[in-house]
Amino acid sequence: MVGFKLISSVKLGIKSLLLHKLRSSLTMLGIIFGVCSVIAMLAIGEGASYEAQEAIKKLGSNNIIIRSLKPAEESRQSGNVGRTFLLDYGLKYSDGSRLASTIPGVARVLPMRIIRESVRFDQNEVPCQVIGTLPYYKEIVGVDILRGRFLTEMDELYQENVCVLTLGLASRLFPYQDPLKMSIKVGSSYYRVVGMVREKNTVEQRTQSGKLSGEPLDNNIYIPLSTSRSRFGEILTRMSAGSFQMEKIELHQITVQMKDTSAVEAADPQIRTLLKHFHTRNDYELIVPLELLRQARQTQRIFNIVLGSIAAISLLVGGIGIMNIMLATVTERTREIGVRRALGAKKRDITAQFLVETVVLSVGGGLVGVIIGVITPIAVTHLSGMKTIVTLSSVLLAFGISGAIGIIFGLYPANAAAQLDPIEALRHE
């Protein structure tokens, strides 16, 4: 019986609302915009943070990355024209072994030397990064071996002049030939190409210090660390605009792989303390992807709260609009209320009638808002290429709020209608 009464009330409500189509649809607009903006804003926020989080995840949440950094005061001095300095900074081989031996929970420590050089084959010369590293680079950073093989322990042991190219570099250097077993010239030495790889996470490319994303490089040559050490030496000379500059860097980057993510948190301050002890200057930086991920999520939460509250305010305004119209409707229909009361309607029947109308308005607006709110992010993605993610929870949230607003803002007018004196209401013109 209650169900039947409810269905009839909803039908009656819709009927009454249809009497004033323009008024009803204008009233609904507030809710439509509110719901639509909640969904669209959360979708855009979600999409933006998803991309950032994916980028961080590629760095490996089990890893801690330590990079050599040119100290600020040294770089100012090096600007002096005509003067030659030997800058000695950065991570040392001893840092790597210390980290491996003292920090608990360390699985592996991967040292890297990263040198910018040009690589030549025949007439082609391509600028690239020569990465001197160890064979297990391919597991820690993640590379797909497309042809041939990656570096091996033997290459490392015998300081072999072998190299592995990334696909992009190989195609630029060898437009016509098969690069395997060819010899290429890097600096003053020749290296034999033994394999071609593709890095799984291109974001992991050498980035500029302090930034997450640098040049999108697919220009890597991998050589054994020992080879890099003996062929290039510890002192790197860079010529620029008539002056040249010498830098003594042992290692450019150390990637510490922890056994699990829980060890990362504990290791972070330990590594900082350890490095601080052995480095007088701040010539390194620590990147903890897990921490970044956490920060990104934190940022996203704040972002969502801000966007959500802006949207919620528009929903609130929509709700106030509904309340306003319903109050006007109650006044306008005072006589109808009187008649209904005379014909046996209880106060709660009148409350229910007007509440149902308000809820029909707001839920109707909510439904339309959901449809537009789902379409809007698709359109945004289509037009601007921004990634958007519509989550079910945001749709439910927006829809739920619109329903709640209908009830909250409907209660007052509905109650006002129910409290009317039937005699007065019947006399109302």
Partner: protein
């Protein structure tokens, strides 16, 4: 809520054997407008109305006629006194029960018809049933029958705005019958109608009475009042005099 001073006893059976379906005993109604300004609209009115009778209430404005109508219609509660309607004292009922009493026991016919604009004829007839929680689909047949009874069988899907005044008042009559009430309370039913349609409506009300419905009609028109069995004249919150036009036919059922 203000309670009457004492609970009235159950209504005694009248001596003449006919059923007094409505009994009003010592009803007072005072409106306290301010501390000094107290209006006594009714001052201890006694009235009993038999089943099947046709009663007209007349009186100048300010005589307490409207207040009487509101109390008879369970729209208002008396300040004191008791009002027995079909065996129940409605004078002390809380609001919800009073609403229910209106819905079940009284059929209203208003001067200005008071149909609900957004509903069709048949839906308007159904409104009292809706608030009784009656299944509208099941009672559809009865509503159609009533619409035909008042001669609107071919206009059941029309809205009030599409009907003439007389037709609207006929819809209101059908609506007043749908819950099979103890009493039909008509407030100036012909006040907005021309004399021809007014007569039609009065004929219809007369027929209802002939079929046993108890009718209470408020009017200031002597011709209208002349159709009733009894005419009650009110003055200054009291029944001034009572005229019996013709006797109530016995045992109509």
């Amino acid at each position: 809520m203000k309670m009457p001073e004492k609970q009235a006893p159950a209504p005694p059976k009248p001596a003449n054997g006919s059923e007094a379906i409505i009994r009003i005993e010592g009803i007072d109604k005072t409106y306290v407008l301010s501390a000094e300004n107290i209006v006594h609209a009714l001052r201890g009115v006694h009235l009993s109305i038999d089943q099947g009778s046709y009663v007209a209430i007349m009186g100048p404005s300010g005589s307490g006629k409207s207040t009487m109508l509101n109390i008879l219609g369970c729209l208002d509660r008396p300040t004191s006194g008791s009002y027995w309607l079909g065996g129940e004292n409605v004078a002390t009922m809380p609001d919800d029960e009073l609403s229910e009493a209106r819905g079940k026991k009284i059929g209203f016919i208003f001067q200005s018809y008071n149909l609900i604009a957004q509903l069709t004829v048949i839906e308007n007839i159904q409104v009292p049933l809706f608030y009784q929680g009656v299944d509208l689909a099941a009672s559809q047949g009865r509503c159609v029958e009533l619409a035909k009874l008042v001669g609107l069988g071919d206009r059941m899907d029309h809205r009030p705005a599409q009907l003439s005044g007389g037709q609207q008042q006929r819809v209101a009559i059908a609506r007043s019958l749908v819950n099979d009430p103890i009493m039909i309370l008509a407030d100036e039913p012909t006040g907005n109608l021309d004399s021809r349609t007014g007569t039609e409506v009065l004929e219809m009300i007369g027929q209802l009475n002939a079929h046993g419905k108890t009718i209470v009609l408020v009017t200031h028109d002597d011709k209208v009042a002349a159709r009733a069995h009894r005419v009650i004249h009110m003055k200054d919150g009291l029944i001034d005099r009572e005229v019996i036009n013709r006797p109530v036919p016995h045992a109509p059922k």
